[in-house]
């Protein structure tokens, strides 16, 4: 009936109204345009930036400071350090998050103490601490716990119960110390991120999986974690990007195999300060841009089943369900 009446009546003329003016926006645009022009002018005309020093050649017969061998070596170190410490951080973080959510009191308190400690200690202090850890032990190895004490108990003087050991200063020094400091600290933050992700999943999901006969491990791997990834990935992207920059802290371990340290060395040799800082800034910009693009694709992968259009529909449906169980019919009638 209503359809008939609307087709019979003529469709009224489309609305053509004078839009609301936004003078404030034009003022803001003008201010921004002027500031941008000033900034570009500064970059182009101020020769103290010494762009050729950065890009082309910083000394006679050498490449620009961004592309010299030690700096590229440092860049490799920064990437390697980011990757390895994030691998430790994510792997250990997942384990600690699962421990934290365990119904076993001891496991969950151990996880709590871990996150408490490593979130409370500044990364810089941790890096210096790990650089000096070999003061505590001369050798580190695998063997019986309290081996020396057990040996004394049985009157064996030379016995230490060690199967294999190496000098501590060989094991925990430089790169490894920096990697451990960053990785262990990162694990504490990742644990909290993963925990939030796991807790964001409807318990009905795990219940349905368990009711099908899946084991706890399968439920976690196949059902809960893949869904939690949607919540976990964005803050993890933040963490990785923060990690790229935090690798510069390991200069205090000291680790020399790192971007910022290498650029500082150039600065010290050539007495050129600002262009070197700008070169570092450009490298960090490039690294983080690559990571942000990668994050976009990872996020897209884990939002399967939650496409942009689906997401809006899903949210609508959730709201309706909460307001009394109405569920929109989609797809069927069309």
């Amino acid at each position: 009936m209503s359809d008939n009446t609307t087709t019979e009546r003529a469709r009224p003329e489309a609305i053509k109204a004078v839009p609301v003016r936004h003078p404030g926006r034009w003022v803001a645009l003008g201010v921004i345009a002027i500031l941008t022009a000033m900034f570009v002018h500064l970059l182009v005309t101020n020769d103290r930036f010494r762009w050729s020093f950065i890009f082309l050649e910083y000394q006679d017969g050498k490449r620009g400071v961004m592309f010299t061998e030690p700096v590229l070596e440092g860049l490799r170190g920064t990437i390697l350090l980011t990757v390895s410490s994030m691998a430790i951080g994510i792997g250990l973080g997942i384990v600690i998050a699962i421990m934290r959510l365990s119904s076993n009191r001891i496991l969950s308190s151990v996880a709590f103490v871990y996150t408490w400690f490593f979130r409370a200690v500044p990364r810089l202090v941790l890096a210096v601490l790990f650089g000096n850890l070999n003061i505590l032990w001369e050798r580190i190895g695998f063997g019986l716990p309290f081996g020396t004490q057990i040996g004394k108990l049985f009157g064996l003087d030379g016995f230490d119960g060690q199967f294999y050991s190496i000098k501590a200063s060989d094991l925990i020094a430089g790169f490894v110390a920096g990697m451990l400091a960053l990785g262990l600290s990162e694990a504490a933050y990742m644990a909290e991120i993963v925990r939030a992700g796991i807790q964001s999943i409807d318990p009905g999901q795990a219940e349905a999986a368990v009711a099908l006969g899946m084991s706890r491990g399968q439920v976690l791997r196949r059902i809960v974690l893949p869904q939690a990834m949607r919540v976990i990935v964005p803050p993890t992207g933040n963490e990785i990007i923060a990690m790229v920059k935090d690798t510069s802290l390991v200069a205090f371990v000291p680790v020399t195999f790192e971007l910022w340290f290498q650029l500082q060395q150039v600065s010290a040799r050539t007495f050129v300060v600002l262009p070197v800082i700008v070169a570092a800034l450009i490298w960090y910009l490039i690294l983080c841009t690559v990571l942000m693009v990668a994050q976009y694709f990872v996020e897209r992968h884990f939002s399967k089943g939650y496409g942009a259009a689906d997401k809006a529909r899903q949210r609508l449906r959730d709201i309706q369900v909460e307001q009394g169980g109405r569920i929109t019919r989609t797809g069927e009638g069309t």
């Binding site: 349905a208 368990v210 009711a211 899946m214 399967k304 089943g305 797809g331």
Partner: protein, 254 residues
């Protein structure tokens, strides 16, 4: 000749100091459909969840197809079953939830194939054929590549039924399967369930659908306050309730 598929003896369950089930006895014969009615908070969903050990009972015994659920009795002592054995028991008990609980990150087909492939480790091609047949049976042959988020509630619930059936269970538990659905979508889910009942599946159905209980149920129990108030043939209980509590409830939902 019907054998006992589910047997509950004096089942008690408490959450903390709150006693939810206060001695439930129930027998469901093989191939029978048992409908459980009752007001919310009467413990009917909790009881259903006890049958596949999603909830641990505090006293009494539940047997499914002759096996004690969740425990092993040896030398007069109860031993709790390990995770693996409990999972094994659950494989033969299908469950359908009020809120569907489909896995949103998997397509409809993957939802159905997940458990037979991962839990029973059956060959993928075989599972795939069976899953497609199941989905065809619940009328969703055209939606196998969709994600649950793209389906209506009724369609999602039918996928959930197919998912449970893919494990070839001997018993199906339904926990208010139509309560979260639009009135116009309830019918399509009930039709699938009726078909299942006609094929001889043993079912325990917690529901508010009186019509379904009357038409399909072989047995009806009415629960309130953690006890079975009344039970019998659906026609008798619904048509001629003996207890005041049952009458009051039915007068509100009919």
């Amino acid at each position: 000749m019907t054998t006992e598929m589910v047997r509950a003896d004096n089942v008690h369950k408490s959450f903390g100091s709150l006693e939810v089930l206060k001695g439930i006895d129930l027998v469901v014969g093989s191939g029978q459909v048992c409908c459980v009615l009752g007001p919310s908070g009467s413990g009917k969903s909790t009881f259903l969840r006890c049958i596949n050990h999603l909830e641990k009972i505090n006293a009494g015994r539940i047997f499914v197809d002759g096996d004690l659920v969740g425990y092993r009795e040896r030398g007069g002592k109860l031993h709790e079953l390990g995770e693996r054995d409990v999972a094994k028991q659950r494989q033969s008990i299908g469950m359908v939830f009020q809120r569907f609980n489909l896995f949103p990150h998997m397509t409809v087909l993957d939802n159905v194939m997940e458990a037979p492939c991962r839990v029973k480790r059956e060959p993928k091609a075989e599972v795939r054929d069976r899953a497609l047949a199941m989905l065809e049976r619940v009328g969703l042959g055209a939606k196998v590549g969709n994600y649950p988020g793209q389906l209506s509630g009724g369609q999602q619930q039918r996928v959930a039924i197919a998912r449970a059936l893919a494990m070839r269970p001997k018993l199906m538990l339904f926990d208010e399967p139509t309560s979260a659905l639009d009135p116009e979508l309830v019918g399509e889910v009930l039709d699938v369930m009726k078909g299942l009942a006609q094929d001889g599946m043993t079912m325990v159905v917690v529901t508010h659908e009186i019509g379904f209980a009357r038409e399909v149920g072989d047995n009806l129990i009415f629960m309130d306050g953690g006890v079975v108030v009344e039970q019998g043939a659906p026609r008798d209980v619904i048509g001629n309730p003996q207890h005041e509590r049952t009458r009051a409830f039915l007068s509100k939902v009919l």
